[in-house]
């Protein structure tokens, strides 16, 4: 730990000159110390590219570390290598899951043999299935049957083409489920089912097709930290990898100082067209964060022009932040 603090001081140029020369003499003649310094440097770079540093250290890193071409190239390479290795790890994990799935099912097959377990699992699946179906109804068109029926002025539901799951009895509820649900729920569900019109093609009932409860997978919204004041922040153009299903991204603008009460951010594309703007932003701990919907973040290069509102109410330019959406 003490060694790490000394190495950190060395790498950030915080050692007095005499002490530094002594330290340099040591590592040039001591291979072990040299390797330690190199590996610590690598770890610092990793923390930087993975945004694991706090803002104070990040500023220090950018000021003292990114001031040679070689080190910027090192940071670039680290970023590329770590993303590539993480991508490989995801692929390996997925393959492992596919392989192990069979063996898990094989193990569970034996467990499912006992009648009590079979009954319990079937009941659970039925509950989940009905619950999922009800959720689907709720989120499907926004006209939830349950919500509708809780109102006093119940209205007819629009016709829907659906067929009940094979396990659902004609009135829309499995018998054992009716017994176990609360009366209130029963009423709502029963009413919902009664209100639901019969499917257009009744012959479907003979060979009902199972309803797949859609599982809407929402990708997490990424956060991109941006630094102003430099054209190439962190030694590279900032890249936002926006997942397909994400709603958008949070852009976190880092400030060198908080000189204004409120700020305005204007997002322009590579052609200088204003794409999105957000005003009345407030800085917090030298950061301004705001969410941008994915519809404004098509692939390409962008610039955020940040301006602060002066006392006289005029917008004064603070910094520009560049990034690219992939």
């Amino acid at each position: 730990m003490e060694n790490e603090n000394i190495i950190r001081k060395f790498l950030y140029g915080e050692m007095p000159e005499e002490e530094r020369f002594e330290f340099e003499e040591k590592f040039i003649t001591d291979e072990d110390l040299f390797e330690q310094i190199k590996s610590f440097e690598d770890e610092l770079i990793e923390k930087y590219v993975r945004e694991w540093m706090d803002s104070a250290e990040r500023l220090k890193f950018e000021k003292y570390f990114l001031n040679t071409k070689k080190r910027r190239e090192k940071v670039d390479f680290s970023s590329l290598m770590i993303s590539k290795v993480k991508e490989e790890a995801r692929v390996f994990k997925k393959n492992d899951e596919v392989i192990s799935e069979d063996s898990v099912w094989q193990k569970l097959a034996g467990f499912f043999q006992t009648p009590q377990i079979v009954a319990a699992i079937s009941f659970t699946i039925l509950v989940i299935g009905v619950g999922g179906w009800l959720l689907y109804q709720n989120f499907g068109d926004g006209d939830s049957e349950l919500v509708e029926n809780q109102r006093k002025d119940v209205t007819q539901m629009p016709e829907r083409n659906f067929t009940p799951t094979p396990r659902v009895s004609p009135d829309g509820l499995p018998k054992n489920l009716k017994d176990n649900l609360s009366n209130k729920d029963n009423t709502n569900i029963n009413t919902a089912v009664r209100k639901t019109p019969k499917p257009a093609n009744s012959s479907n009932r003979k060979n009902p097709t199972p309803i797949k409860t859609p599982i809407i997978k929402v990708a997490p919204n990424p956060v991109l930290a941006l630094f102003g004041g430099t054209v190439r922040s962190r030694g590279k153009n900032n890249v936002l990898n926006l997942p397909k299903n994400s709603r958008g991204a949070t852009l976190m603008l880092n400030l060198e100082s908080e000189d204004y009460k409120t700020y305005q951010a204007q997002l322009t594309d590579a052609d200088g067209r204003l794409v999105f703007a957000r005003g009345n932003l407030r800085a917090r701990k030298l950061k301004i964060g705001f969410f941008v919907s994915a519809k404004y973040l098509k692939k390409g290069d962008y610039i955020i022009k940040l301006s602060g509102k002066s006392v006289r109410g005029e917008n004064e330019s603070v910094a520009d932040y560049q990034f690219r959406v992939n």
Binding site: F10, L11, F21, E24, E25, F27, I28, T29, E31, F34, E35, Q36, I37, K38, S39, F40, D42, E43, E46, R50, W52, E62, K63, Y64, L66, N67, T68, K69, K70, R71, R72, K74, D76, F77, S78, L80, M81, I82, K84, V85, K86, E88, A89, F92, G229, T230, V231, R232, N237, D301, Q322, R324
Partner: protein, 200 residues
């Protein structure tokens, strides 16, 4: 082979002069060559950590001067320590030269760091090329080394220390040794990727 290698690096010096230098490093010629390469790496990093751009050139100057001193009859006991003292002088001279030839000002470090961005299309092409080369270089690694990298970096901020301690424990090594091992692998990949990009 070591001497030939050195001759390529230091064209103005004779084979005999270079052999004297290698003898200082180690009587065994093979070991001497390895020590030379290791020493060279450390000197280059010395200059890099002192914010020098031309690290290879400056390191060459150090070795040239050390070898010249040997030719002049200077008695050198420890070649590595001697190289360090020469390196300090070379560093100071390099700094004076930079001050003399540029408008370098200690207070404008921030400005020096602000190097204009490359053309974004060109940079994207370079990055794609780098990615292709990295993939080729990763493919050259053995499966266990590749797995080591994957296991090492596949973690998050909260758990990375624990994950790596477990990884090190599983391999029967200390965390420090694991870091050094990964650092070496990364250097190999970086060099391989750089060489590949230069060939393209």
């Amino acid at each position: 082979m070591a001497v030939n290698f050195l001759i390529l690096m230091h064209k103005n010096l004779s084979a005999a002069d270079l052999e004297q230098f290698l003898d200082l490093l180690d009587p065994n010629r093979g070991q001497a060559a390895e020590k030379y390469i290791a020493l060279r790496t450390r000197l280059e990093m010395f200059f890099e950590w002192r914010d020098c751009e031309n690290t290879e050139g400056l390191t060459d100057i150090v070795f040239d001067r050390v070898i010249k001193k040997i030719i002049q009859g200077e008695k050198i006991r420890n070649a590595e320590a001697y190289c360090v003292s020469i390196a300090k002088f070379v560093l100071l001279e390099s700094r004076r030269e930079r001050l003399r030839t540029s408008e370098f000002d200690e207070n404008s470090i921030g400005i020096i760091a602000n190097i204009p961005a490359k053309d974004s299309i060109k940079e994207k092409g370079t990055r794609d090329q780098q990615l292709n080369c990295l993939e080729k270089c990763l493919a050259k690694l053995s499966a266990d080394k590749r797995k080591l990298l994957t296991d090492y970096f596949n973690t998050d901020e909260k758990n990375f220390i624990t994950t790596r301690k477990c990884l090190a424990s599983g391999l029967g090594i200390t965390l420090n040794t694991l870091r050094i091992r990964v650092c070496r692998l990364k250097s190999i990949l970086e060099k391989c990727t750089k060489d590949c990009c230069q060939e393209c």
